[in-house]
Symmetry: C2
Subunit: 594 residues, 2 copies
């Protein structure tokens, strides 16, 4: 049987930064070559970053991506890697799609290419386009209609992109029809809790359907609100796992494979070039090298990394996401308002793990309602973690407003939160840190939060964590520190005391909210699982409590709609706000860079 | 030839408020019956409001819509309108779509129904789903696959929904295949500048393709960021306009039509029930009444409303959008920070026209950098319009912050804007008005704006207007007042003085920005038309100026990404923020209502 050494580069990419992404591809191709790889693969849209969103509709960016791809092929050859086939994701456009009402302008495609001997020898585009959850690909892309197969050292390698494996039909059965000896799927599949097992089962199933060894190459890192967790997987044609990469770690999986030989045309008994097979896909074959390699001893197995346990996995995702967000937006340091409570304490711990305590700035902003223990707990957090700490009381500002306005009740409570938000932004503007918002998902869902107040911030590290998970992760982080012989970062008192916003005397969260363990279970059914009131009551919750909770969520959503968080502009007059086209480092203007 | 009196109800609808929307349908059906109508139509998703967004994925809302439709049929019959066929848009689900990965949960459909004699006698779903611009319908809906035809008094009426007319193929040729005598399309087509002529040309073309008289019924009003401008159109089979409704006015177009008779089965020479015709659509025929009406004198022509000229059209869109936003979010009054400049003056004029000057609250918040003429211009605006006015200086708050923080430069400038934002929110929380943000599209595009400062507000009435349009509309509004013998609302000095943010001594916009007439033309090419740098320079602009402008836009977008305007929560952990499912008045909790 022919052999191949495959290098799967599970690495990060930055949307818009074509130059840096190309540089990373060269760097990791060199690494793969040094490992003796015969085929090298990079993730979906590696060259442009993922997701490019409205950049896909800007033809100057599409052309820049195409030009960067051609330049990359030349560069790899010049660096001495011309003989090594490189599979890489990029942004392209369909040459043959006719303009049609409702089709994305310029017919962009989520594409992949094979680079070899200084040239782009094969291109293809994602066939199945996801348009649910975090995906909007019908908006941005035209689907591909080929089944690409590249022959390398006598092995037919079928290629696919991400959703091509997730949906039934299309390239998986087409790979079988093509008689492929290996199926390689390049992906940018975002992290979700408990998704790893779904992925594993998917790849096992698809390998059996394709009838060949299947490699699922994942991205790692973070882009905007998305986290990519890695977890690349290789399984054989019987669905047995051959290799599995670690989560949340950048690196290269290198493994030797014994693979079936492609026969002469029609290849492997599979469909010939140009034939239309499953789902209308047309076979597109390119032969780079017919002859199998001389037999060699299988040396590299790719390894098998164990899954992280749940708390560590979620915590790692939060750290990786924050680290990428700070770096990709050109910041080095972060600013956090520290109340002494558990939310800001967990955010600070995550930030210290993401960017280092020396780059974390905490500021306590006590009001006359702040308790002594709160001030003490904030200082204790700083002491334990080593973050930079200062205290600025808000009483003078509060008194200035109250001298002009006769505020009471909620208006007075919200004022305190907004004075702190203004303080954080003033420090950020003056000193250049990026502000982190401490809100958790429970309080945001029920509206227990002040817009332009504690909601101020560029990034909300724990906005997708319910309060019960905040407690659990805080305890996990402290335990993990103990196990490593380090100081637990979060003061025990921040974990054990009753949660309070401290915006009026003696206030605690349970004045306004149900116990968090009940609240969070109801929220999960209502918000995450789209269950209705009757179904939630039927699940065993008190009808009155369910009604009250749902009313809070409805009202909070209602309030968010009354005060959308800011005024963005839309490209089309009178339209829905869509992101403006320019993201991160891709700029039309001549002065590029960070 | 058989005759029919058609009633097209160009009215507003509120997302989620099933009860009020049903009530409006009953009200306008009564009105149509009093006018002697034989068929009555309501807009796309009239019963649920449009767009429902994530509510489509909540099965309890889908079931509520279905139940409301059945109840509406019964109610109309009880009210004595059972004999009058009513076509109405609502939210349904596909009974036969098999669950499939990537398909919207519960297989929701953007549907229409014909109600008759207390029953739902025919249902259908939108066939072409738009997924561009403001539309996300692949995310939310499963397409319909029938060609519905209802026979009323011997006329075969083919039915379609909005995008079914915008895209080629599908229901337009299928209406011809079905031998329809009339094609009725129900729509919720959002306003865009200069769209009205596009619509007219579209309907003329489609009528000729369908080979029958075609009625295009539009919605009017506003929902969230969308404005619906009305402009319902009826054309005959030769493309000649028969009737056209006014823009921005709620009402009913009633018109008599002479239409070709349907013959006995196979109807009109058209395809029989169950036959599959164009684009895979299966003919779905229902016969309500075979016999043509006794001949009568054609009495009602539907009328022809002239188009508004451009400035009035845009101004009307802004007024209608703001009025709907305030009302649908349960507010009666609005709050605006008045600087004396043209942006806040135009916003105030729009607000007075939308909700009445007695419901408009203006507050001047001068700093030590505010000029005397600014204070005077704000007061003069209040005098001219009659809005409620007060002055609250921000110096005490400014001094309190500067006493604790050593702010300079941009941090000091932004502080002033944020103190005003906090002031407005404090007043809003205390008194219950909704805050309007005064930003225009030029300054938002280049980042000449303070997040959590002048960007504070629930709704930005002029966020889609470039600064040159702000000037033009201000002059138009004053001129219109003069023509009506009223006091022009906007002080001449606010229009004629050089724009300034007044955040430091002697500051004017042109310190930082190009002249607005040049800036706006570059922005339009870059932001609205997705042109790249080279193309903009080729259009005749100075290369250095283009580069500087593009850099400002890129940096502003970059900053918006560093500081997304707020922290929303997502339904799925670690995912893109999508709106929470509950909008406006549809609530799971028992206490419904405003």
């Amino acid at each position: 049987m022919p052999q191949l050494r495959l290098a799967l580069n599970q690495i990060d990419s930055t949307v818009g930064d074509l130059a840096a992404n190309a540089e990373a591809i060269v760097h990791w191709t060199r690494h793969a070559a040094e490992q003796g790889a015969h085929v090298v693969a990079f993730p979906e849209m590696m060259l442009t970053g993922y997701p490019v969103e409205d950049l896909a509709l800007r033809s100057s960016f599409v052309e820049a991506s195409r030009a960067a791809l051609r330049a990359l092929a030349v560069r790899l050859d010049e660096e001495g890697f011309g003989e090594l086939p490189v599979v890489v994701g990029y942004l392209d456009r369909s040459e043959k799609a006719q303009p049609r009402y409702g089709q994305p302008a310029g017919a962009p495609q989520n594409a992949g290419a094979v680079l070899h001997r200084g040239a782009v020898v094969l291109t293809f585009a994602k066939h199945h386009l996801p348009n649910y959850g975090v995906f909007d690909e019908f908006r941005y892309f035209v689907p591909g209609d080929t089944m690409p197969v590249v022959r390398v050292h006598g092995v037919d390698i079928a290629l696919a992109i991400c959703e091509d494996l997730w949906q039934d039909g299309g390239r998986v059965p087409a790979a079988r029809s093509a008689g492929a000896g290996l199926l390689v799927s390049i992906n940018a599949s975002p992290y979700e809790r408990e998704k790893d097992d779904t992925r594993l089962e998917l790849v096992r199933k698809r390998a059996q359907e394709a009838g060949c060894t299947t490699a699922y190459l994942a991205m790692i890192g973070g882009q905007d609100e998305l986290v990519f967790d890695g977890d690349s997987i290789v399984v054989d044609k019987d669905g047995e796992v051959v290799a599995r990469a670690p989560q949340f770690a950048e690196g290269c999986v290198v493994l030797d494979l014994d693979l079936p030989a492609a026969s002469a045309e029609p290849a492997s008994g599979g469909a010939a070039h140009g034939r239309v097979v499953d789902d209308g896909l047309r076979i597109d074959r390119v032969v780079l090298s017919e002859e199998p390699l001389p037999a060699y001893e299988l040396e590299v197995s790719g390894g098998y990394a164990d899954r992280l346990e749940d708390d560590e996995e979620v915590y790692s995702a939060l750290v990786v996401g924050l680290r990428a967000y700070v770096a990709k937006n050109g910041f080095r340091s972060v600013l956090i308002g520290l109340s002494g409570g558990i939310d800001s304490a967990l955010v600070a711990a995550i930030a210290c793990d993401a960017v280092g305590a020396q780059n974390v700035y905490g500021v306590a902003m006590p009001s006359k309602y702040s308790s002594d223990h709160s001030k003490g707990d904030a200082a204790e957090l700083a002491r334990r973690t080593g973050l930079n700490f200062r205290t600025i009381p808000i009483e003078p500002m509060f008194d200035a407003y109250m001298g002009s306005l006769a505020l009471t009740g909620l208006a007075e409570e919200n004022l305190q939160a907004r004075l702190r938000g203004t303080m954080l932004m003033a420090l950020s503007n003056q000193e250049g840190q990026i502000v982190l918002a401490p809100g958790n998902k429970s309080e945001l869902a029920v509206g227990y939060s002040t817009l332009y107040g504690d909601a101020v911030g560029a990034y909300g590290p724990i906005k997708d964590l319910y309060k019960t998970s905040v407690f659990r992760l805080a305890r996990w982080r402290n335990r993990a520190a103990e196990e490593r012989g380090q100081t637990p970062p979060i003061p025990e008192n921040s974990i054990s005391k009753p949660p309070s916003a401290e915006l009026r005397p003696g206030q605690v969260d349970t004045d306004s909210l149900p116990d968090y363990d009940v609240l969070d279970r109801i929220l999960e059914l209502y918000v995450d699982r789209d269950q209705g009131k009757d179904a939630i009551v039927a699940a065993g919750f008190d009808a009155e409590l369910v009604a009250r909770t749902l009313r809070m969520v409805d009202t909070a959503e209602y309030k968010r709609r009354q005060y959308p968080p800011g005024t963005k502009i839309s490209a089309k007059g009178f339209g829905k706000d869509r992101r403006l086209p320019i993201t991160n480092r891709w700029r039309e203007s001549p002065h590029q860079g960070g």
